[in-house]
Amino acid sequence: MTMSNRLRLSTILPAIALILVSCGGTTSGGTASSVSAATFGSKEPSFKPMCTPAAGKQFKVALIIAQGGLGDQSYNDLAYSGFQRAKTDFSVVGRVIQSADIVSQGQAIVQQAGQANFDLVIDLEFSTYDAVKAAAPSFPNTQWMTPNFTSLAANDTGYLFNEQDGSYLAGALAAQVTQDSKVPGITPSKVIGVIGGVKAVGIDKFLVGYAQGARDIDPSVKVLVNYSNGFGDPAKGKQLADAMFSQGANVVYQVAGGTGTGVIQAAQSANKYAIGVDSDQDAIAPGHVLTSMIKRTDFAVYDSINRLACGKLKGGETINLGLKEGAVGLSQMKFTRNAIPSKYLDKVADLQQKIIDGKIKVWNTITQGTPSWFTS
């Protein structure tokens, strides 16, 4: 129980804790971000103070941990590491709030955090966002930060990740690798696969980006799409992935949280490739996870505190983090890099630069809906 529960609730929840905000309340594009050394897979986001923090001023920051708690080796732990990093870089009194009953106590915690005069409250728990929306206006002196969500109030900053961009790169890589018999385990074909947790725009954002990346490499590559209808069912994931491998796919991308561990298992036993999501999952089955599409929640947390300390956290805006900031992207491919011909990696690096430069626009289902060419 613990396992599936944790896998489900912590790994995937944040990854896809997206809501459709079609009304364009988004301010697009990150305001800041400096570096753009666009070598694919090696880019680290920039954990650097954007100003010299004023001495003497201490900031009170609270971090509300999501369901699953610390120790999940995923979303919460990643966010927490960004929080710790910010605490060393800035003069911050940090409080971490955990509760086994965060779902029910969320509203009370949000209220009490407001009462307690924090400068910034970072809330990782999606189910409390209604409460944040209701409470934030009553505490104008407190800034709020809600990752994976658009701004909820004039003093709340939303952070969204351009997962479609990273997924695009994953698709581009997969479409190349699947056709090359020199790569270990590949039976050349023009088929790749992707498994989503549920059919929802927040998930299709990944899937469409992936399909678009493959299409741009070779329009004749077929992308198999399926949904596991749940995030905690590795057996289902294995079953779906096995089906795709038997249909000729060499690479399957999982966007299904705990279900995805089954996809990775299937790749290992079929001697094929999976693509991980959210965190660096390459080490789960070394050599059989082609790459992972990483999302750097830690950077979002760090960035919000960075802005707070430098007086740049204004609230009322939604910050999009993407390839440019290094907040999404492919993993280092520690176990697979040497087996993949470098021309493919170069191609992916090239595509990454093009996205950063705005030469390629990756489809965003959140704002654009589902493209006509995408069939699931």
Binding site: N5, R8, A62, I97, V103, G197, G230
Partner: protein, 398 residues
Amino acid sequence: MSQVTAETGIPVAGQETIAPSRGLQLLRPLQLAGPFVVALIVGAIVLAASGRDAAGTYWLLLQQSLGGPTEIANTLVAATPVLLTGLATAIAFRSGMFNVGVEGSLYVGAFAAAWAGFTLTRLPGPIVILVAVVLAGLAGAVWALIPGILRAQWRVDEVVTTLMLNYVAILLTSWLVNYFFLAPDIANSMSPLIASDARLAPLLPRSQLTIAFLLALVVTLLYAYLFNRATIGYQLRMTGLNPRFARAVGINLGRSIIVVFLLSGLIGGFAGGLQILGVNYRFIDHFSPGYGFTGIAVALLGRGHPAGILLSALFFGALSNGGAMIQLFSDIPLDLINILQGVVMIFAVIELSRLPACLTRCSGCWRPPRRPRPPSCSPPWVAWSTARVASSISGWNR
């Protein structure tokens, strides 16, 4: 004497029992407070060992759980579900049924209430609330009826069935919400929000203290009435104290079992439904941190007595609420609160009162092995340890 009290619940005041020795009388409040005192001492040792100020931490804990109207409201909100699950569990325990499946009733009840709340959006709020609460109770009762019938008809051990049905309920609701009732455009495993006028109105602004707590108090009173004044409650109590006797005087055990499970499930369902209507406003997959299992501890700690159950529910509510809030003001980790809770539970169940008796019995001359006690008296730790195992499996106190 203490044994009698432990089994029948705290006796009604003013009864003409043979007076216990003076020493025992003086010991009684001490025994009841024992678990808490020991827990606080152990907690203090842990705090001190980790280099923290124990007194200051306890003071902060007290402030954050009872220090003002908002704090008290939050404590009452946190106490509401465990008060109800505690009562649901206690009804079964006092009737000799080790129903450890209140968690399951809570889940199906919560789902039923949420379903009513997001489906019947055209009806006026109060009617939706009424329908949702009734549905929640019915769902919980029907769910508990399964092990009830298995037990009554085929003597299938209810500890096993109720424990396992918890997981069935959790996974069933998970399946329902993920496959059929997912909130549109949200990839998280949660249902749509219930209609806004189906939410229970807060009694105190900016809190979630609603009539749910008052309803829980009413259920507490009904519980007291059931076991002290009602004929059916008398029958259930006799069934719990000595099923062979109950059968011989013509109490229908099968019917008692069914009634017990229905009532227990009904209250468990209410607990889930009220939590949705008053706090969560939607069904969230795996939302309960183990209210049903905490209810077992509440029932045992309260010794089956209504006031005891109320007090221990408030205690757990205060600890849960205070434990979360205290983190806003100090760097006390949640684990410490979990330690406090765990120690209280352990010592609640050990029953300090029996310890000296056991020691004197075990020394002295050898005696023939004691006859196994009748099933009615099977020790509470059976249920407790089962519950403990269950909780560690489900990870509610992670």
